[in-house]
């Protein structure tokens, strides 16, 4: 019996990736077992699944035979506190990495997300302003290549320029280059004290926070149609230092100092459901206010890191027949006019066709020097749009994919340009 026969079982009702059902599911328990599995499944198309918190984001796989699930590939292998590093197997829940004794992996992710999934999806949250993202915190990685070979890059020391930094290539590669089985992360001390400063200042005031000497760990904004925008800032440090900075910042923003974040902090700005349009929007710091206006004008809620220029926007787009009559009558007018119009009703919401909103926000993101990536879209819309949008260097990316996965077995069609 091959490893495939040993490990793979018939897929169940939940073993679906962005609407595409898998045929088989296998959960290897070690890197070696994973390598044997990948080698034995060389005729199968594969999607790797961690905690499943983002498994449906992005385009569906063109084909799907086998889900490789990392739920048995768990455990913290090493926590070298004196060296501020940890080695974790890919399936380890982020909850375990968020609370190591006295130290933390300062990477915001849902507790149920896994280390490997967080790296593969390049997920990040508010604290990226201070600590960076997975690309900054990952210092070593073990990957099973699509040909079944086990390979490592980086190591267990933060400072290391020996060879190519493949950890960065795998970060955000969405499982298209192989199966991540182990990650080495840089850790940070748990801050002695934290405070939040909250304000209803408009997004333009974020620039004042950055220009000051507040050393903010996170600078988040939240804006939605029909409600006041908000700014929330996380400050970390010594009790006295944080208190002084928080007081000064509260004066600057005409806000208040709180011990807890606002309820929207580090949560997605879209409701649950299939008919949701969800986007990741990026731009330069000075481009953020215009990006926020564009999203709100389109009827979306937008929030995220005004300190780094990475935002998330979304809204529910109830499925309606795609005919001219179904689009909102005043969908071509700016929000200021719409909200004054009785025809728009009292409950602000998305306007018009989701595909049109994507095009509009993609233009706004490009004007801000960034990109708009569609994470989720109503099924009828998803098939009509390029969820990743245009990216520079696509030809080189295809060549990288061809080198790593010449048969295009890993997550085919899920990445940029149909990779």
């Amino acid at each position: 019996m091959s490893v495939l026969d040993d490990l793979a079982v018939e897929a169940g009702d939940d073993d679906v990736v962005a609407g595409v059902p898998a045929r088989l599911v296998a959960a290897p328990a070690t890197t070696e077992e994973a390598a044997a599995l990948v080698a034995a499944s060389r005729d199968l198309t594969v999607v790797v699944r961690g905690g499943g918190t983002k498994i449906h984001q992005g385009p569906p796989p063109r084909e799907l035979d086998l889900i490789i699930d990392t739920r048995r590939l768990t455990g913290i292998v090493e926590h070298a506190a004196g060296d501020l590093i940890t080695v974790a197997r890919a399936g380890t829940p982020m909850a375990d990495l968020h609370r190591l004794p006295g130290q933390q992996l300062a990477l915001d992710a849902p507790p149920a997300a896994t280390a490997g999934g967080t790296v593969a999806a390049n997920a990040s949250g508010p604290r990226r302003l201070r600590y960076g993202t997975a690309r900054d915190l990952l210092i070593g990685i073990t990957v099973v290549r699509p040909d079944g070979r086990i390979t490592k890059s980086g190591g267990k020391v933060v400072k290391n320029v020996a060879g190519y930094d493949l950890g960065k290539l795998y970060t955000g590669s969405q499982g298209t280059l192989g199966l991540i089985t182990e990650c080495v992360f840089r850790l940070h001390p748990v801050p002695l004290h934290t405070n939040f400063v909250r304000s209803n200042a408009p997004p333009t005031h974020a620039a004042n926070v950055l220009a000051g000497q507040f050393a903010a760990s996170a600078l988040e904004i939240n804006a939605a149609p029909g409600s006041d925008p908000e700014i929330a800032v996380l400050l970390e440090g010594t009790a006295a230092g944080v208190r002084d900075r928080a007081a000064a910042l509260a004066r600057l923003l005409d806000g208040e100092v709180t011990d807890t974040p606002p309820p929207w902090w580090d949560t997605p700005p879209w409701p649950a459901g299939d008919d949701v349009l969800a986007l990741k929007l990026t731009g330069t710091l000075s481009g953020v206010p215009a990006l926020v206006s564009a999203a709100v004008d389109a009827g979306l809620t937008i929030r995220g890191s005004a300190g780094t220029g990475v935002l998330y926007a979304g809204a529910s787009f109830p499925t309606v027949p795609l005919s001219p009559a179904s689009t909102h009558p005043d969908s071509d007018q700016p929000a200021s006019i719409r909200s004054a119009s009785p025809a728009s009703g009292t409950a602000p919401g998305p306007r018009g066709d989701a595909a049109r909103v994507v095009a509009l926000l993609r233009a706004a993101a490009a004007a801000a020097g960034g990109h708009a990536v569609v994470l989720n879209a109503p099924p009828t819309v998803r098939d009509r749009i390029d969820m990743w949008g245009p990216v520079p260097g696509l030809d080189l990316m295809r060549r990288v994919k061809d080198q790593f996965d010449p048969d295009h077995r890993f997550a085919p069609g899920r990445f940029v340009g149909g990779i």
Partner: protein, 482 residues
């Protein structure tokens, strides 16, 4: 048309060097015991010229090597005897400074320190600070993923570059990343930074600017030996303090620095620590008290605090001049660049001293203690038969010690030509093969800085429809190509 005539058609006469004597100016980088005279040197003034030169090289399958200021310490910019050396020093404009976006856009030949100089008036600076920052170029920093004393807190070049325009080994101009973060797609920018010129030539660099800190405080603590200084370092990190820098020098390197720059470190010190803290004043004050206490608790017999920028400069002068200063006490030396987990510092330092004693070689230790990046300076006299070999043996043994303790053979100087042979001690064949998959994607013909980083080049397979016919170098010899 030969390559040389193509280059002549693309460049002005003064941008092309073929005279043997003038070519010798470029025969080495900062690692001067490797010397190769390039076939041709070009000095492009625009990205389009770089692309034209590389395209010509690609079509003639002639190797090319990019060079910035030539300060590299691993022979990464060592020329190829049959190749073109592309010197980026004429590409030296700061294109944009955008404080509101915390970005600057510069050409690759711009000097590292110059980026901070033009940003300072806006309240910003460029954080990566290699010791050579007064002369090293941003393009070279990108190639080497350069670090510096302050990368303990601020990270390396890779954490401060968000966008590149590069000339691929095909001669195409391509943008990777941008001014905004998280560009969709593979992080080719992340792979390119630190690839030592083997994936192409950067022709424009978008860097992050960092807000100047409100306060900087610098402390010099003298200890009787490296064990005590190492223990103090561990205690500082264990206390949850992340200083901007923690640097250590041992007795021999202090002796050299005193001889060279008269830095006036405390007499009788067997080791000194330089600790720098920066950030909001209240935070720095609290951390400073903690650091002072931990140094004293671990045996510091004298502590000095820089009262102003001039005193800070004096404290740093001893450290930053240490490599060159060693020339005062030894005619020749090898600079090593190994990394170990910080907690292994005392053990590894003791072993280095034992190995040095066994071989009858002196080793001066200067290093970034905070991140475990050792710079042992292995001293020898090339005029004494056998000394160079013994120094080389000690140098290799130090790298083995680093690998044995879970570290790396290079923390910031790069692999280049110097350490390629050590790569298989740190990585398996499969690991190296995987890195070269990226190389094959960018440079299937292996013409970008060949012979660097990897001990054995990987064959990339045939690319249909391209480069038909025999390899020109094989068929006609290099003379005809040029």
């Amino acid at each position: 048309m030969t390559l040389l005539s193509r280059l002549r058609s693309e460049l002005a006469p003064e941008q092309l060097i073929t005279d043997r004597q003038r070519l010798r100016t470029y025969e080495c980088d900062g690692l001067s015991h490797y010397r190769v005279v390039p076939a041709v040197v070009v000095l492009p003034r625009t990205a389009a010229q770089v692309a034209a030169v590389v395209r010509a090289c690609a079509e003639e399958r002639v190797p090319f090597v990019a060079r910035g200021s030539g300060t590299g310490l691993s022979g990464g910019a060592l020329p190829h005897a049959d190749g073109v050396l592309i010197v980026t020093s004429q590409l030296r404009s700061v294109l944009e400074v955008r404080p509101a976006d915390e970005r600057a856009v510069v050409q690759p030949g711009v000097i590292n320190l110059h980026v901070s100089a033009v940003s300072r008036e806006h309240g910003y600076y460029y954080a990566p600070d290699p010791s050579s920052q007064q002369i090293c170029s941003i393009g070279g920093n990108v190639a080497e993923n350069s670090g510096g004393a302050h990368c303990l807190k601020y990270g390396f070049t890779t954490n401060h570059v968000t966008g590149l325009q590069v000339v691929t080994p095909d001669g195409d101009l391509v943008r990777l990343g941008g001014a905004a973060p998280d560009t969709p797609g593979y992080d080719l920018l992340g792979a390119f930074v630190g690839s030592e010129g083997t994936l192409g030539v950067a022709t424009e660099v978008t860097v992050k600017l960092t807000r100047l800190p409100e306060t900087v405080r610098t402390l010099l603590a003298a200890f009787t030996g490296t064990d005590q200084a190492g223990a103090a370092t561990s205690a500082i990190i264990a206390a949850g303090v992340v200083p901007a820098a923690i640097e250590m020098m041992d007795a021999l390197s202090i002796e050299a620095a005193e001889a060279a720059v008269d830095c006036g470190y405390p007499a009788g010190a067997g080791a000194v620590l330089i600790v720098e803290l920066d950030g909001p004043a209240a935070e720095v004050d609290a951390q400073f008290d903690e650091v002072s206490r931990l140094c004293a608790a671990n045996g510091a017999f004298e502590t000095r605090v820089a009262a102003d920028d001039e005193e800070r400069r004096l404290i740093w002068q001893g450290r930053k001049s240490a490599f060159a200063a060693v020339g005062r006490i030894s005619p020749d030396y090898i600079v090593q660049d190994g990394v170990i987990p910080r907690t292994a510092l005392p053990t590894v330092l003791r072993r280095i001293n034992e190995v040095a004693a066994e071989h009858g070689v002196r080793v001066a230790n200067v290093f970034h203690a905070g991140d475990g990046n050792l710079h042992p300076l292995v001293l020898f006299d090339d005029g004494v038969p056998g000394e160079a070999d013994r120094a080389e043996a000690v140098s290799g043994a130090i790298l083995d010690l680093c690998i044995e303790h879970g570290g790396s053979i290079t923390g910031e100087h790069g692999v280049g030509v110097d350490k390629a042979r050590y790569m298989p001690r740190m990585f398996t064949d499969d690991d190296l093969d995987t890195m070269q998959l990226v190389r094959c994607a960018f440079d299937p013909d292996g013409i970008a800085n060949p012979g660097k980083v990897f001990p054995t080049p990987r064959l990339c397979g045939e690319r249909p429809g391209r480069h038909r016919g025999a390899h020109p170098l094989q068929e006609t010899g290099v003379a005809e190509v040029f």
